[in-house]
């Protein structure tokens, strides 16, 4: 028997035996598509290094989609470019559905069962990674999007503590104004003003209302949606924000700077990435210098709700290294990977994470969303052209928060929604 035939027979026997993939079998390059930069990318490098330490034959090639605003444009451009992609970083359920419909990602239900992900991830995380009942995503970090950030010394200067209720908050506005501090920085230049609407929507009508509106099962002119904008109007009328022209000129990073560096504004309602961003950029310490509090309770029966975002990895259908991808997705659910994220300031869905690694901000956020009724970021659930109209109309509402304009704004969004679904 020739030597080559002998090797071939042995290899075939190995394949047919169904032996699990061993660490030493996993080699080669893994191409990973992401939009992450700065501290997010640094953490990703740590995770990649930890994985590569277990599988020395594996190397990572990152394809970073450039963007300003919505990264999906950059991700789509890379995917249409045709480069084989093994792993795709994703945070939008609608984008996952788009990728699945285009055949660009592969299901991982078999992997989930084989590697018993259920032992490390609650069923709700599996559901969040599914499209039409098929599992595609492994959620590895998530964030609380119903929280406000503040600088401790600014609150001390105004003589206030984080407000528990809406009325507490409205009562604090004159105290901030008295020390020449804008109570809330509202970054309305592009998209971040939507955070206010989205949390108010949840607190006015609960997860069900937000879900129905996102699917356009109720019109935008629904009385509860109107009530949401009227609550927003209440804050505007009470002087919670700077004037309309000012808020329309600032982005989330300017707002973070005003609140967490300059101390010219009291609170900012934004996602959790601002915690690590501020610690890195402004050199402030979570807990010691700055804190996080939940959106004040409205008392309308839905204060047990929160908006969350989550990030997942998807297995690319065009990838050249599925074995390494499966091993990496499995690794993401383990204590080792979870603890890297936890130590770097992220909340981790894996039950194996050591929560003592969380900094005070992450602990507070984790405690705040535990046991709450959760809704995924509302804007990320809307069709692309509708979300653009929705954000522009909210800007128009901020310019003119009169009741008459509330109706005009909602009618305009409804008109766009009617053609978007």
């Amino acid at each position: 028997m020739k030597l080559t035939t002998l090797f071939s027979t042995a290899a075939l026997a190995g394949l047919l035996s169904g032996t699990p993939v061993l660490a030493q079998d996993i080699t080669g390059e893994v191409t990973l598509l992401t939009w992450k930069t700065a501290s997010d990318l640094t953490t990703l490098h740590k995770v990649e290094a930890a994985f590569a330490a277990k599988h020395p034959g594996v190397t990572f090639k990152e394809v970073i989609a450039s963007f300003t605003g919505d990264p999906r444009g950059g991700l789509r451009t890379v995917l249409l470019g045709g480069e084989p992609i093994d792993l795709i970083d994703n945070t939008w359920p609608a984008f996952r559905a788009e990728l699945a419909n285009a055949g660009l990602i592969r299901p991982i239900d078999d992997l989930w069962a084989k590697e018993n992900f259920d032992a490390r991830l609650d069923p709700s995380w599996k559901a969040l990674g599914q499209t039409d009942g098929t599992t595609y995503g492994v959620q590895y970090i998530y964030g609380d999007r119903s929280s406000w950030y503040y600088l401790n010394k600014t609150l001390e200067k105004a003589g206030v503590t984080p407000p528990a209720t809406w009325d507490d908050f409205l009562g604090q506005i004159p105290k901030f104004r008295a020390v020449d501090v804008t109570p809330v920085s509202l970054p309305a230049k592009a998209w971040a003003h939507g955070e206010w609407f989205e949390t108010l929507l949840l607190r006015v009508g609960g997860v069900e209302l937000a879900s129905k509106l996102a699917r356009h099962e109720i019109p935008w002119t629904d009385p509860q949606v109107r009530e949401t904008l009227l609550k927003f109007k209440q804050a505007i009328d009470a002087g919670a924000f700077a004037d309309a022209n000012t808020v329309l000129g600032i982005e989330w990073d300017n707002a973070a700077e005003q609140v967490l560096k300059a101390g010219t504004a009291g609170y900012v309602h934004i996602g959790m990435w601002v915690s690590q961003y501020s610690a890195d950029t402004f050199g402030i310490t979570p807990g010691k210098d700055f804190g996080l509090t939940q959106f004040p309770a409205l008392g309308l029966g839905h204060d047990d709700t929160s908006t969350v975002d989550a990030t997942e990895y998807l297995a690319g259908a065009s990838g050249k290294n599925p074995a390494a991808v499966d091993a990496f997705l499995t690794f993401l659910t383990t204590a080792e990977a979870a603890n890297i994220f936890a130590a770097d300031g992220y909340i981790v869905p894996s039950k194996e994470a050591d929560t003592s690694l969380y900094n005070p901000i992450v602990k507070a956020a984790n405690a705040a969303v535990s046991g709450k009724k959760l809704s995924f970021v509302f804007g990320d659930q809307l069709p692309g052209d509708l979300v653009d109209e929705y954000r522009v109309q909210l800007q128009k509402f901020i310019q003119d928060p009169s009741e008459a304009n509330v109706d005009v704004v909602l009618a305009a969004i409804e008109a766009k929604a009617a053609e978007s679904y």
Partner: protein, 322 residues
């Protein structure tokens, strides 16, 4: 040496070219060219033609093709006929875009070329002494629009971190502080100011070159006749530098019409779409929302607008060429 290679090209007294073969002439095949010349010409032209086809004709044809399809995200394209065009002109956002584009293009061009021309004429009076000045202005033109945008975003910031507002405050004009990019009424003018600052170097250079080409004997004759510098500027340099102004107008109109970078960086089309030009609309539809067919239709409309401006200008200059 081949017969065609040995051809001598010379100009006769009235400027027309004449070809004088050095040896016996082959029988012409077409237009006075023999077969070997045609083959040589085709071989020499092929690289340029291939490059033109790949870099210009194919993308152009594909964009026009794409404009007839409904493409949403990564989904398969569906044939839509003229649907995208009908939708485009019924879209109030697009109509707003046309108005913003006209305001931006005409104002930026008028300011850029106007300022560039005036500076060029002034520089032409003392070319050596203004060398550094011209260099500085042209350096601004060399900075990419995106980088210029990032520089100016700090300048226009609404709070005290904004250079303009801090300056106004420092000189006791704090009441004039404003959210320049957040107010729809001022955002477009802030962008026009940025684009003008960034673009004035090119018309300055073109108009200066045009002014420099004016025969010195004309200016000397004016001096001899007792003309003052202002009169020389008004009656000689300005009118005779107009060909340069026309070229600068043409280039700036096209550049402004396609403007994107500076708008993307400064305002992202906002607030409330007050700075959304055709170039930005095209980007938003094509790359942010990934409605490639709709974005392609907007691109074709922009292309037609560019052709409307450029074809008559090119035709005029070609007709005038000897």
């Amino acid at each position: 040496m081949t017969q065609s290679a040995a051809r001598v090209v010379s100009a006769n007294v009235d400027g027309a070219e004449s070809r004088e073969p050095t040896g016996s002439r082959r029988k012409p095949v077409a237009g006075g060219w023999d077969r070997a010349e045609i083959v040589a010409a085709l071989i020499l032209l092929t690289p340029a033609l291939v490059l033109f086809a790949v870099a210009v004709l194919y993308p152009l044809a594909d964009t026009i093709r794409l404009s007839f399809f409904d493409v949403k995200g990564l989904a398969a394209p569906k044939y839509a006929g003229l649907g995208n065009y009908f939708k485009l002109f019924a879209d109030p956002t697009f109509r707003n875009t046309i108005a913003v584009t006209l305001l931006f293009t005409l104002t930026t061009t008028a300011l850029t070329v106007g300022i560039g021309w005036v500076l060029a004429v002034l520089c032409a009076l003392a070319p050596r002494e203004t060398l550094f000045f011209r260099f500085v202005f042209f350096t601004a033109f060399g900075i990419s629009d995106a980088v210029a945008g990032y520089m100016w975003i700090t300048f226009f910031r609404p709070d005290q971190a904004g250079t303009l507002n801090a300056f106004l405050n420092a000189i006791g004009l704090g009441q004039l502080q404003h959210s320049w990019l957040g107010d729809p009424a001022t955002a477009i003018w802030a962008i026009i100011a940025t684009a003008t600052w960034s673009g004035v170097g090119l018309p300055l250079l073109i108009c200066f070159a045009s002014a420099q080409s004016i025969s010195k004997s004309i200016i000397e004759a004016a001096h001899v006749d007792g003309a003052r510098p202002l009169s020389i500027m008004r009656h000689i340099i300005m009118p005779l530098s107009l060909p340069g102004v026309r070229v600068a107008l043409f280039i700036n109109l096209l550049g402004s019409l396609r403007a994107f970078d500076v708008i993307y960086v400064l305002t992202q089309g906002g607030p409330v779409r007050s700075t959304e030009t055709l170039g930005f609309f095209m980007f938003k539809e094509s790359f942010a929302q990934f409605k490639l067919g709709y974005g392609a239709a907007a691109t074709v409309v922009l292309l037609i607008a560019v052709l409307i401006i450029s074809v008559p200008a090119i035709a005029q200059r070609t007709a005038g060429a000897k």
